[in-house]
């Protein structure tokens, strides 16, 4: 082969390589906007969940800290003051009129007042809160275990997920924050319905009067301003069908990583 052709071929191949690289990067932006891409890339969450289920035992606890580790200022994120007149009326009244409905696939649907919740055996834990944005804050949370509350209503065998419906509206269209966790997470010994932060009544900015606390998932799973808990066999019928407000915006349902 003559040197001229060879040099031309080299340039062509190197040029093609550089071009392919540029296309790849531009293409990734284009790809990102395709629902199929989001669905394919998003399916990796089930692989991650399966792997973590194998590697981490059902009841393995998130690390707990000491009082000295508590953040001086715990960052309040997401909704910090629900734009909801009914909620605000309840807040002004110290949540005396607040009721937590627990129903769905349960033998005994029930309704709880804040005093009912406070009279249950409470856990206090100092744990780390990890936001999907990347930061972490340590706080002390107090409240009953979710599994104790669920034991009172007796879940039916078909129940696979626990849905949390909240008081904070997320847009003008009347969509409220909601979340879902599986029964395994609901039964974890650090899954709390917290009514106190750092020994004080849970402030509005952190989800008063009651919020979900999980030891092993990211912050967006931990619904604030919980009004209604429903046990279901599938989260598909709710919202856009992905299991939660942020999941409907493209975040993964599994938030253990």
């Amino acid at each position: 082969m003559s040197e001229v052709i060879s040099v031309r071929r080299r340039r062509l191949i190197l040029g093609l390589g550089a071009g392919a690289g540029t296309l790849l990067l531009g293409g990734c932006d284009r790809l990102s906007s395709l629902p199929q891409t989001q669905s394919v890339l998003g399916s990796a969450q089930w692989l991650t969940r399966a792997a973590q289920r194998v590697l981490v035992s059902r009841d393995a606890r998130a690390p707990e800290f000491t009082r000295a580790d508590i953040a001086p200022v715990f960052r309040a994120n997401g909704t910090t003051d629900p734009d909801n007149p009914q909620y605000q009326a309840m807040a002004r009244n110290g949540f005396r009129d607040w009721r937590l409905r627990v129903d769905g696939l349960v033998e005994r649907p029930m309704s709880f007042s804040l005093d009912d919740i406070r009279s249950m055996t409470a856990q206090t834990q100092i744990t780390r809160h990890d936001c999907v944005e990347g930061w972490s804050c340590i706080g002390q949370w107090t409240g009953p275990l979710l599994r104790d509350l669920l034991a009172r209503v007796v879940p039916k065998p078909q129940a696979r997920y626990v849905m949390f419906f909240c008081a904070d509206p997320m847009d003008d269209g009347g969509d409220f924050y909601y979340e879902s966790i599986d029964m395994r997470t609901a039964a974890h010994p650090q899954t709390l319905l917290a009514y106190a932060l750092n020994g004080e009544t849970l402030p509005v900015a952190y989800g008063a009067p009651l919020r979900l606390r999980l030891g092993r998932q990211l912050g967006y799973k931990m619904a604030k301003y919980v009004m209604h808990i429903q046990l279901v066999s599938s989260y598909r019928p709710f919202g856009q069908g992905r299991g939660g407000y942020w999941e409907d915006q493209g975040y993964t349902w599994y938030a253990g990583i």
């Binding site: 080299r10 191949i13 190197l14 390589g17 790849l24 990067l25 990734c28 932006d29 990102s32 906007s33 989001q38 394919v40 890339l41 998003g42 399916s43 990796a44 969450q45 692989l47 991650t48 973590q52 590697l55 981490v56 035992s57 393995a60 606890r61 998130a62 690390p63 800290f65 580790d69 953040a71 200022v73 960052r75 780390r128 990890d130 936001c131 999907v132 944005e133 990347g134 930061w135 972490s136 804050c137 340590i138 030891g215 092993r216 998932q217 990211l218 942020w246 915006q249 493209g250 975040y251 993964t252 253990g256 990583i257």
Partner: protein, 284 residues
């Protein structure tokens, strides 16, 4: 190998096996996606801390947009006690519409370009699987085929000539003839450092950011000194890999762009023979 070819002063050796070549290019694409989606994720909270949690008033590094008394906005990057103006690159750069906007790393460095944490996480946490599988295959094949021991392990001679090799590299004089058949000590150390130090550190520090992994493997938090330290170390490892990549590309270009690229595509690597060399080429 024909005599004519040899008289031309070049022999070809088979440098990279097909496995190494495939794994190399998969690794290249995967690392690019990981780096750029990682910067997208970083942009959601462009600050780094030390310890278990985020002490917001004392970041180790922060990238932000700040307004001066005249209403002019600057991109400001702060490392420890030192602040730098980084307008156009870090903190304050052009957004999708062309006007300046507050963002950590600029559009061209992130995947996707727009601020879109959910999508950045989808890319990052799916390609992480490809990266780990690809890396594990490399190490397993490298061990079983003897590639790691034969081609990358440091020999006594490598250690002895390290200083000399370093000076030769500074002069941009690269090995020729028989010396070019094998990796030199500096090269080996760079590859070994990336494969056995940076790669495990970046994977483990990444996993330490997973709250579920922290429950199952609390020793990860001990190793990395807490989740926020793990995030910082993860970032440092990523920048180290980027540094390696820059040096790697520079060396590929300086030591013969086409020859290097061809050897990583077809396996064939040309060596310029030296007249004084008595050794017979073994290949081809």
């Amino acid at each position: 190998m024909s005599a004519a070819r040899r008289a031309g002063g070049r022999v070809f050796v088979y440098r990279h096996t097909v496995a190494v070549r495939v794994l190399h290019w998969v690794n290249f694409v995967t690392l690019t996606v990981m780096l750029m989606s990682g910067l997208q994720i970083f942009n959601a909270h462009p600050a780094l801390y030390w310890g278990a949690s985020s002490e917001f008033s004392h970041p180790l590094l922060s990238i932000e947009a700040m307004q001066d008394d005249h209403g002019h906005t600057w991109g400001v990057t702060t490392v420890g006690a030192h602040s730098f103006v980084t307008t156009g690159l870090l903190g304050w750069s052009r957004g999708g519409g062309g006007s300046f906007t507050e963002r950590g790393f600029p559009r061209w460095a992130t995947l996707p370009s727009d601020t879109w944490l959910a999508m950045g996480r989808l890319w990052h946490l799916s390609f992480a699987w490809i990266l780990v599988v690809n890396g594990a295959l490399y190490v397993l094949l490298g061990l079983s085929s003897g590639h790691l021991k034969r081609d990358l392990w440091m020999t006594r001679a490598d250690w002895r000539s390290l200083g000399h090799t370093f000076i030769e590299h500074l002069r941009l004089r690269f090995p020729k003839g028989d010396e070019a058949r094998r990796y030199n000590g500096l090269q080996k150390l760079a590859y070994l450092f990336v494969i056995f130090v940076v790669a495990p550190a970046i994977v483990l520090s990444g996993l330490t950011m997973s709250p579920t992994m922290d429950a199952g493997f609390p020793w990860l938090l001990w190793v990395f000194h807490g989740r926020q330290s793990a995030r910082t170390i993860h970032f440092i490892c990523a920048m180290t890999l980027l540094g390696f990549f820059v040096v790697h590309i520079a060396m590929v270009i300086l030591s013969g762009l086409w020859n290097n690229v061809r050897s990583m595509m077809t396996g064939r690597y040309a060596i310029e023979t030296m007249p004084a060399s008595a050794a017979e080429p073994r290949h081809e």
